[in-house]
């Protein structure tokens, strides 16, 4: 059985929504360290400490989720970090193939269990 990821970043300006996701992950595994960021800039500045999974909203204050994805793709180490988009925007997955996007969760339809599926899949 694989170990769970050690660190997950949640980047979402909606703090209450981020709290819901955080709570679901913590219920699944208390040992996972979760860092939440309200904007992409703060998350970018924390990338020295590479997370195992990033849950990313697209509409963010300041640089948006796509800017953050471009920043991730710019460096070989950060380009490998799996990213799951958590957004209410309709995004065609095919157009995002240049990024390491492992899935898209629609905020209007997703369930907490779907987040856990990704957490389990990217455990190491």
């Amino acid at each position: 059985m694989p170990n769970p990821p050690k660190t997950i970043y949640i980047i979402d300006d909606d703090e209450l929504f981020a709290d819901c996701i955080k709570s679901a992950i913590k219920k699944h595994d208390k040992s996972i360290a979760i860092k939440t960021f309200k904007n992409a800039l703060d998350a970018m500045n924390s990338l020295d400490d590479l997370p195992d999974l990033i849950l990313l909203d697209i509409l963010l204050p300041g640089p948006d989720g796509f800017t953050f994805l471009n920043e991730l793709a710019s460096y070989p180490d950060t380009a490998k970090i799996p990213v799951v988009l958590v957004t209410s925007l309709a995004l065609p997955e095919a157009d995002l193939s240049i990024y390491n996007i492992q899935g898209i969760l629609n905020k209007e339809k997703m369930k907490p269990t779907e987040v856990i599926e990704y957490v389990k899949r990217f455990s190491r």
């Binding site: 209450l16 963010l60 209007e108």
Partner: protein
Amino acid sequence: MHSEVTTTSGIFVAAHELKAPLALMRQLALSLDPENPAETKEYQDKLISVSDRALRQVNDLAKVARLEDALFEMEPVAVRGVCDEVTEELKYLFRFQQRSLKVSYRNKQKLAVANRDLLHSIIYNFCVNALKYSDEDQTSLLTLKDKKQFIRLEVRDFGPALPTDIYQKIAQNNLEGPTSISFRPDSSGLGLFIATRFARYMKANVGATRHRDGTSFFVDLPVSNQGTLFNA
């Protein structure tokens, strides 16, 4: 044609902004765990708070649509009283999100000519906007002060500075609809649009001051010449 485009994009932006609380409420409902009563209570409180805000926004939009019918009576209003109502209503929400709202009344109980409900909505929208753009542990400021011909109600936040184009639209009283969803990202400016329309109805002016570390939104309300008999 232009107004059709404005209406269509306005509806799109309003729909997008209203989607956020609905998606959040759905997520909160899915997170309820009957085996954890303390957490369930917390989520119930959040659900009520988020739905209250969404309902207020829908009600405000309905009022905007009815402004042309001139159904909102103007009367002498004690602005402090309305500020007190709003701050009391939002107390929980600010505390819950680890923010605070400081109130400073520097006026001498003058009355303004206003519609109480519309004024309530303006103050509410300004305060929620400040909450949204403040970081944890930050304090937003609500100030009420007398000017010669009007009473200025101002709410200062410490978020990102207002973009110049939006600032100019506000300064020129030219904010005709909710703006692009990325104008001050994560917001369509719907609250500001609502406040502007309500202020215009009441012959009041909405404005903004840009600071290096945030923005102040204000409304200048015409002073009522009636006595303080109607303070209550």
